[in-house]
């Protein structure tokens, strides 16, 4: 590798001097500080930057809003942060076709605002407010509405990527129905920047709901929470989200309903009828954002984990975490997409206790085919616990895919499952 200043100069030659800077403490990922930050302005510039980076043997980390920079395992190496901040153009929005094409640096909120002008939305509601489109895709971020609309993989219809060697390739297209070629859009979803840079992405859109309401019930036990969620899931209500909130004070199962003005009343009535046998009814505001009561915001906790389990196993999921926490004197607060089998837990307590807690819960879940992923934790915690946990028998295949796309391990080395 040439000296930093020579590399910076070469990068400046590609993207313009003003778009290359020395990294600062703010660019650090899990304690690893990069040398340089580069902001390309076009897919061609990304290609040229990657070509240079791989020639110089630089470890590259693509970055959108940086909201999930703390996710994943600590980088094994980090030289260059590739910021997508200048790739912020919504390329094409065709309301009649219900599709949008966008560069990956577009802020997710800005995209939704633009789509709302045509009364449409990208039916994803990741909790990270300042996330970019590319970040949401790369981290496969999702929110409550996944129960009805699915996750990124279900809504992405096309992608342009740049590989470590600078190759620019696209897959999919701008029509919703399309089976031509391999679906690389899905492959790159959740790939954590380890296969290449996501330069832009195309999505199918949905009409914004005309009427939205939330009904909720206070539950007293994990079993009641599970039963309430199951009652909605197995009904014909067609709920949009079935959420769990398990804070110290408030324990709720809430159901987000979307419909037309003529239909929302009946939906609300049906959902209320189903829920009321599991506890006391609660009224929440209409806005989906209010689905998360402040007491369950886990931002203040030390470790955030994400648990995947079959939805009907919710009782066991909650019990195992609560028991493990109680025995260790740890504090726990949970939210979850109860209809989809996803539970998030925010944990606080002594580090060693939390390490034991996560390992215990992981063992229980893994035994029944589930998973426990550490999402946010101090670097010292990540040294003790594998962020991703054990992969299944597909790890070898996963590694072969990685090695075809990025044989030199330049892209976000070390941050993904199995040391990828």
């Amino acid at each position: 590798m040439q000296t930093k200043s020579v590399v910076a100069e070469d990068l400046g030659g590609i993207v313009g001097k003003e778009n290359v800077r020395e990294a600062t403490a703010e660019d650090t990922i899990d304690g690893v500080e990069p040398s340089l930050v580069v902001e390309p302005g076009s897919v061609e510039e990304i290609g040229a930057v990657m070509k240079l980076a791989s020639r110089e043997g630089l470890a590259v980390s693509p970055r959108g809003g940086g909201t999930k920079a703390g996710w994943g395992a600590p980088p094994r190496a980090l030289d260059l942060v590739l910021s997508m901040a200048r790739m912020d153009e919504i390329t094409e929005h065709v309301p009649g076709d219900q599709i949008v094409r966008t560069q990956s640096g577009v802020k997710f909120g800005a995209l939704q605002e633009k789509l709302a002008e045509a009364n449409q939305m990208l039916a994803l509601d990741p909790p990270e407010k300042d996330a970019t489109v590319g970040g949401v895709v790369a981290a496969n971020s999702s929110g409550p509405r996944r129960y009805k609309y699915g996750t990124v993989r279900d809504l992405i219809i096309g992608i342009t990527v740049v590989l470590a060697d600078g190759t620019i390739a696209k897959a999919g297209g701008k029509v919703v129905k399309n089976v031509a070629g391999y679906d690389l859009s899905k492959l790159f979803t959740g790939s954590f920047g380890t296969l290449g840079v996501i330069a832009d992405a195309n999505f199918r859109l949905h009409p914004r709901p005309e009427a939205v309401r939330t009904v909720a019930v206070e539950v007293e036990s994990p079993q009641a929470a599970r039963d309430a969620a199951q009652a909605i899931v197995h009904s014909q209500v067609e709920a949009t989200a079935v959420e769990l909130h398990w804070g110290e004070e408030t324990k709720l199962v809430s159901v987000l309903l979307e419909s037309i003005p003529d239909g929302i009343g009946a939906k609300e009535e049906a959902a209320s009828f189903l829920l009321k046998s599991f506890g006391k009814e609660r009224t929440l505001d209409e806005e989906a954002d209010d689905l998360r009561p402040p007491s369950t915001d886990s931002a203040g906790y030390e470790v955030d984990i994400k648990i995947g389990a079959p939805p009907a196993e919710l009782t066991s999921v909650l019990d195992s975490i609560l028991n493990a926490a109680e025995r260790r004197g740890a504090t726990v607060s949970m939210t979850g997409h109860a209809g989809s089998g996803v539970t998030y837990a925010g944990l606080s307590g002594e580090e060693d206790d939390l390490v034991g807690l996560v390992e215990e819960v992981r063992e229980i879940r893994t035994r029944s085919g589930g998973s426990v992923i550490v999402r946010r934790a101090p670097a010292s915690f990540k040294d003790k616990v594998d962020v991703w946990g054990p992969a299944g028998d597909y790890l070898g295949l996963t590694r072969r895919v990685k090695e075809k796309f990025d044989p030199g391990y330049f892209m976000n080395p070390g941050r993904f499952i199995g040391g990828i």
């Binding site: 020639r55 043997g57 190496a77 065709v94 009649g96 699915g150 993989r153 590989l163 060697d165 190759t167 390739a169 897959a171 297209g173 701008k174 029509v175 919703v176 129905k177 399309n178 089976v179 031509a180 070629g181 391999y182 679906d183 690389l184 899905k186 492959l187 790159f188 979803t189 959740g190 790939s191 949905h206 009409p207 914004r208 005309e210 199951q230 209500v237 067609e238 419909s259 037309i260 003529d262 239909g263 009946a266 994400k306 995947g308 389990a309 079959p310 989809s340 085919g369 998973s371 992923i373 991703w388 299944g392 028998d393 597909y394 070898g396 295949l397 895919v401 990685k402 075809k404 040391g419």
Partner: protein
Amino acid sequence: MDRGRLIETMQEILGPQGVIYEREQLRTYECDGLMNYRVIPELVVLPESAEHVQKIVQTCYDEGIPFVARGSGTGLSGGALPVESGVLIVLSRMRKILEVDLENQRIVVEPGVINIWVSQEVADEGYYYAPDPASQIVSSIGGNLAENSGGVHCLKYGFTTNHVMGAEVVLPDGSIVHIGGGMVPDAPGYELLGAFVGSEGTLGIATKITLRLVRKPEAVRTLLAAFTDTEEAGGAVSGIIGAGIVPAAIEMMDALTIEAVEKQVAPGFPEAGALLIVELDGPEAEVASQFDQVIEVCQENEASEIRVAEDDEERALFWKGRKAAFGAMGSISNDYYVQDGVVPRTELGTVLKRISDLSNDYQLRVANVFHAGDGNLHPLVLYDNDVPGEAEKAEELAGDIVFVCLEHGGSLTGEHGIGQDKKKYMPKMFTTDDMDVMQLLRCAFDPHQICNPGKIFPTPRLCGERPGPFHMHPVQKAGLAENF
């Protein structure tokens, strides 16, 4: 390994009933639903378990013998076309429904299970399997997975890829992997399942498939609306979508299709230049209100007749007419070529006009039947094989039609796949780099290129090192990281 030894080896794995090697019997399998291409395989094997498939594939891998998987053989792009001197692995004996988990709304099936069986299995409990390709009474779940089959209800419910939650896969090297979480969401790692579904049998063979079950809706309303021409019907489609309604299905048939369908199955469709079938489902109150809105939109677009299905029987009749459309062409033409292309919905009118012009230029009739909601066209090019040169002309016209789709921002195929049939067109939609990068995935799954070789890509790429510079990362060079 010579042929005799190969037959013996397969018989050892499968028993004598599981191997077909007589030439006349092999002929049964020379093509799939696309009959323009025919190849007689070296032999056909009929595994009854994942273990069988694993052993067959292992043998092929060890001996460097290409293989092709086949379900019910209803595919329309030649995806299950055998390879000469290769083994055809027919999965129609793997037809067990292995597990029904209603609590988690999942069902686990073997690949040979017929699509409709899945819905039948859980119908009494109020559930069904949403993807419903027109072939659903014969096509297999394994084949649906390979092709990422669509269906008439995918506008609201999505495609096969949105309903396959997990798969046990025999990889081309004979190893078995489980991809996708199955009952569990968000399995850590790459979205390998999303890449596998729709890979047209080129990445491995699914031996166990976990599907999502959908709760039956409270209400279903279906109507048939007649219009003077496809343009007016198209106006109604835009009106419905523009009103923010997401119908379960919107299907369109043009005059020629209606004529053929009437001759074949006589559903009693009104005479019209174009027909729409619109179906809404969901909670009663929502459906009732939006259904009125759909009727209004159809009236505003000069519908000459609107017929609302009074009961399940009448609804079934509407759908019988629609689903019979391809086969019905036999009643108005000796031969026909089924095309499958996609255009952005807003381009439908323009594209239909261009198809009509092409039909005039070529002096061949084209019937149009399509999933109007998602812009997926199925132009049926009618021709007579007995007229010299007409088959070639029909294929050329069908090709021109997909080029028009591409020009208008669409795709080569919405649900039938690229397979053997359209690989020559792939460079019209994708650059060499695009296809090379797709084939990196292929190389990760199938480094020896023995799994359904020769499909999808016009120029298979070798799976050696990628051209271009390769540098070992400094961390690796310094011995600080483990062996990659």
